[in-house]
Symmetry: C2
Subunit: 385 residues, 2 copies
C-alpha cells in the first residue's frame, strides 16, 4: 500500500440550515477542501451519508455530488455505515488511492437532517439498530444507549453527575469552534437538571443532530507539494472492525470489543501505542460512549473511563484531550458527516490551527467513528510530518 496524505480540508457550520439544500451543504464543504488543497480536480469522489434516502428522497449521492461539483465522467460512490458513514467513506477513498488505481480522492461526509420532523428523524436513526430484533421491540437509538449507561452505572457504581465532565469539556471546547452547533458553557448543575430523554440519558448527555458536511482531499504522500506555512498530515493508521448489530447479542455490552480490535489494528499499522496519541476525537454521541471508547482504546481500565473526566485529563491540557473542537456533544452530530468532521478536526490540531483549544505539540491524533451502538468502528491515526 502506498502512503497517503491529507492535502486539504473543508467544513460547513453545523446548524439548522433551512436556507441550504443537501447538495449545497455537501458542495460547500467539497469546494472548501479543494480550495484548501490548492487543486481543482480529483480522480474520484467518496460520499459518506446515512439518511438522504429517508429524509431527502435522494439516493445515489456519489453521482449526485460529482454532478453538482462538476466532476462529470469521474468515479463517485456513496458509502453507508450508519453514524460511521463518514469515516467509512474516508477509508474507501484511502484504499482506492493506496491501491494505485487513482491518484487523488475527495471524501465528503454529509447529512441534512432538519427537513423532517423530530419523530421522523428518530425513526430514521433507528435504522442503525437491528430492525427485526431491536427496533421491533419499540426501542429507539437513544433508548439502547440508555440501557447501556444504566447498566454501566450499576456495574461500576458511578452516579449520573460523574459523567458531567465529558459534556462540560465538549461544550467548553466548542466555544472557540466557529463551525460548532452549540456555543454555551455548561455547569455540573445544568448537566444534572437538564430534561430527561431516556433514563438515565438527559439532554446534556446527548449530542444534538443537525445539517452539516465536512470534506478532505487525499493523495499519495509523494504528491504533496510543500506548503511552507503548513505541516503535512499523513494517514498512518486505518482500520474498520464490526461487532454484532444488536446490543443484546454481545457477551458484554459494556465493552466495545470492536473498538478495542479496531484501535489495536490502527495502533499496529501506525506503529504507536495509546501513550503516543496526543489527542483523540472520539464518538461521544452520548456521554456513556466517551467512557466506553476511552476504555476500549486503552486509555483507561474497564469501568474507569469516567475517572479521566473527573481528574481533568480529557481537556486540551490533559493527558488525553478528547472532543477538542466540541465533539459530537457540542460541535454537533450530523450523523453521516460526523466521521469526516472528526478527521478534519484532527488535521486542524496537527496543523496547529485550533486557537484556544490547541493541544500543545500535537503530533499524532486519532479519530474514531462509530456506526450503531458500537457495531461498526472505524479508527484513523494521523501524523504530522
Amino acid at each position: 500500500m502506498r502512503q497517503v496524505a491529507i492535502l486539504g480540508i473543508g467544513q460547513t457550520s453545523i446548524d439548522e440550515h433551512w436556507e441550504k439544500s443537501l447538495r449545497e451543504i455537501g458542495g460547500e464543504a467539497a469546494f472548501l477542501a479543494l480550495q484548501d488543497a490548492g487543486i481543482e480536480k480529483v480522480d474520484a469522489l467518496f460520499v459518506g451519508n446515512m439518511l438522504s434516502s429517508l429524509i431527502s428522497g435522494q439516493n445515489q449521492l456519489g453521482t449526485f455530488f460529482a454532478d453538482w461539483i462538476g466532476m462529470w465522467h469521474q468515479e463517485a460512490v456513496k458509502i453507508e455505515a450508519a453514524c460511521g458513514s463518514g469515516a467509512a467513506a474516508f477509508r474507501s477513498g484511502l484504499m482506492a488511492v493506496a491501491s494505485g488505481d487513482i491518484e487523488s480522492a475527495l471524501v465528503i461526509g454529509v447529512e441534512k437532517m432538519t427537513d423532517k420532523a423530530g419523530h421522523d428523524v428518530t425513526a430514521a436513526l433507528a435504522t442503525a439498530a437491528d430492525a427485526d430484533y431491536e427496533v421491533e421491540q419499540g426501542v429507539s437509538f437513544v433508548g439502547l444507549n440508555a440501557l447501556i449507561m444504566r447498566r454501566y452505572m450499576h456495574e461500576y457504581s458511578w452516579k449520573h453527575a460523574d459523567f458531567a465532565p465529558f459534556s462540560i469539556n465538549a461544550h467548553a471546547n466548542a466555544m472557540s469552534n466557529p463551525y460548532a452547533r452549540l456555543h454555551d458553557r455548561i455547569s455540573v448543575d445544568q448537566f444534572e437538571k437538564s430534561s430527561m430523554v431516556a433514563t438515565p440519558i438527559n439532554l446534556l448527555d446527548a449530542s444534538p443532530t443537525g445539517d452539516g458536511a465536512a470534506a478532505a482531499v487525499i493523495v499519495p504522500v509523494d504528491k504533496v507539494t510543500s506548503i511552507p506555512s503548513r505541516r503535512r498530515v499523513l494517514v498512518t493508521g486505518s482500520s474498520s472492525v464490526t461487532d454484532t448489530i444488536a446490543v443484546h447479542s454481545r457477551k458484554d455490552p459494556l465493552f466495545l470489543s470492536a473498538a478495542y480490535e479496531s484501535a489495536k489494528k490502527a495502533y499496529a499499522m501506525a506503529e504507536v501505542d495509546p501513550e503516543d496519541i496526543d489527542l483523540f476525537e472520539l464518538h461521544d454521541a452520548f456521554s456513556i460512549m466517551s467512557a466506553l471508547s476511552l476504555e476500549a482504546c486503552g486509555f483507561a481500565d474497564r469501568g474507569k473511563g469516567v475517572r479521566l473526566g473527573l481528574e481533568n485529563e480529557i481537556t486540551p491540557k490533559g493527558k488525553i484531550p478528547i472532543c477538542t473542537r466540541g465533539g459530537l456533544k457540542a460541535r454537533g452530530h450530523p450523523v453521516g458527516a460526523t466521521g469526516m468532521y472528526q478527521i478534519v478536526e484532527v488535521v486542524q490540531q496537527l496543523r496547529g490551527e485550533c486557537g484556544k483549544t490547541q493541544v500543545d505539540g500535537a503530533n499524532i491524533g486519532m479519530a474514531q467513528n462509530i456506526g450503531g451502538s458500537g457495531a461498526t468502528i472505524l479508527t484513523h491515526i494521523l501524523k504530522a510530518d
Copy 2:
C-alpha cells in the same frame, strides 16, 4: 495494483421470497459463494444495496450481514449507487484487495423489494433520479426511460416492434436459468400487445423487480489454488464513471457518455477491444437501455443498436451475446443485487457452466451495471485463465 481473481460465486433465485427475510436472502448467497470458493472466512465484506432503509427499515447492511454470517470483528461496509450498487460494491472490494490491505473479500449484492406495495417501491426507486429537479416534476423512473425511448424512436425512425428481439432473447435465455424470475418464452406479437406502462414502454420492455442476492469471493490471483475442474477467472478491467444525475442536464440524452468512458477505461485496463468480448451482460432495465449500451460500448454505431437484435447477433450464437442468463428483463432486477448477478453470470459463462445458453469458447466477458438513467456506470471485464 495486484491482480485479483474471483474464487467463488453464489446466488439465490429471484422471486417474491415471502418466506425469507432480507438477512436470509443475503446470507444464502454469501454462504453459497464461500462454499463455492472452498473457504470459511474472508477479511472483509462489501454489501451493495439500494433500498433496505426505505423498504426494510434497516441501514448499516455491511455490519448487519457480517453479523448474520458470523464475520464478527471483520471489516464490513455498504455501498450504494442506486441500481449500480452491486457492481459498485464489487469494485470497492476489488480496490481493497488490490491495495494489499486485505487478502480476501466477500461481496454481496442484495435487495428485498416485495415487502412493500408497488406504489411504495415506485417511489423508492425514484430516489435514483434527481429529487429536486426530476422527481419534483412527478416523473417516475420508468417515465424518464420512456422519454428517452420515445426520443430515440423519433430520432432514428425505429418502431416499437424493432425492440422486441431484446426481450425475446432475454426471455429465451432465462428458460434454462434456474435462478431467473421469469420462465416464459415470448413472441413479437405478445411483446407488441402487452400492457402499457409509460408510453412507449410496455410491460415486456421493462424488467421485473424482485427479491434476490448474488455474491462473490475475491482474492489476489496468486492465492487461487487450482481447482482442476474449473478455470480461474481474473478481473482484468474495472471502471466506474458518472454522468449528470438528471437526464435533462445532458447534451445528448441518447448517448450514454459515461458508459462510453467507462467501457473505454475498462478496455484499456484489460488491454482488449470490443471485438475481443465474447459476451456482454448489459443493464437492460428497459429495452431501450440495451440499444444505448451496445452503442456506447462500441458494438454498434449511434442509432443502430436495435439492428443487432433484428439481425440475431445478440443471442448466445451471435456476434455479441447479451443477457445470456436472462438479463434484467427475465432473470429479474432486484436493483442493488443486479450488478452482482451480472458478474456471477459472466463467471458461469467463463467456467462453461451455462448449459443451453453457453457461449462457445467464452474467454472474455464484460458486465456493465448502471445506476440511475445512465448516471453511474460500472464496467468489469473478466477473463478465464
